[in-house]
């Protein structure tokens, strides 16, 4: 297999709130490993998944790890393609200013088109 063909487009779709279940944290672990394999990585946040990027998370009271600072470290792993669904933000009264990293806000239709271009879509 040539080097060219071993790079695939991996998209990680995050749909769940950051705490209460472990999906968000374990998704982040796969994202970092995939980047270490020099793949083309992008992340999407939609539905309650948009809360994963919410500024000012405080988890002491629920005795769980606040891993949200990790999202800020993603560009250090050359993960720069972060997309957030506009409809999901709107439905939750959130704007881009409420998020702790720079993202591209796309509407549902545009996101769908982007998913169509991927080789691998993993939804957590």
């Amino acid at each position: 297999m040539s080097e060219e063909s071993s790079i695939k487009k991996f998209m990680f779709v995050n749909r769940k709130p950051p705490h209460g279940t472990i999906y968000a944290l374990e998704s982040l672990e796969v994202v970092l490993i995939t980047a270490a394999f020099d793949q083309d990585v992008s992340l999407v946040f939609l539905d309650d998944g948009v809360f994963q990027l919410r500024k000012g998370q405080q988890t002491k009271g629920i005795e769980t790890k606040n891993f949200s600072p990790t999202y800020r470290a993603l560009d250090g792993y050359d993960i720069e393609k972060l997309y957030v669904e506009k409809e999901s933000l709107d439905a939750r009264g959130l704007t881009e200013d409420d998020l702790l990293v720079d993202v591209m806000v796309l509407d549902r239709k545009a996101l769908g088109a982007l998913m169509d271009e991927q080789d691998v879509v993993l939804s957590f």
């Binding site: 071993s6 695939k8 991996f10 472990i22 999906y23 374990e26 672990e29 796969v30 490993i33 995939t34 270490a36 394999f37 793949q39 080789d119 691998v120 993993l122 939804s123 957590f124």
Partner: protein
């Protein structure tokens, strides 16, 4: 076609592991190849040899083991997810092996289709 399979939910609690197993069987019956089945999140509980369902129910763990034995399917359990949930070499069912998340990424790269079962 070469398939990669991801199982993200535990046995009995969720339909995902039943669906994944039946999908794997169908894939093989149609003459396709399974590159690997990767167990992540609560999916790692599919690999516990301590599972003892009632006699009149399907044995989900044993079914996976038989799939590995009969068809040489590579069943890989994520080490970090497994340790979190108490799955270790000592209680690993036959046919499974414990390895890292790189095995999931490799399945994504090598397979023609990566099919996920879970929420």
């Amino acid at each position: 076609m070469k398939f990669g399979i991801v199982v993200n939910e535990g046995p009995y609690q969720h339909q995902a592991s039943d669906s994944a197993y039946l999908f794997c069987k169908a894939v093989l019956e149609k003459g396709h190849e399974i590159f690997r089945v990767f167990f992540y999140h609560d999916g790692v509980n599919n690999a516990s040899r301590l599972t003892e369902p009632p006699q009149d129910d399907r044995n989900i763990v044993a079914r996976w083991s038989k799939l590995a034995e009969d068809h040489g399917v590579d069943l890989v359990v994520c080490v970090a997810a497994a340790l979190r949930r108490g799955i270790k070499e000592e209680n690993l069912a036959p046919g499974f092996r414990i390895s890292g998340l790189g095995q999931l990424v490799e399945a994504g790269i090598q397979a023609d289709r990566l099919v996920t079962f879970g929420d």
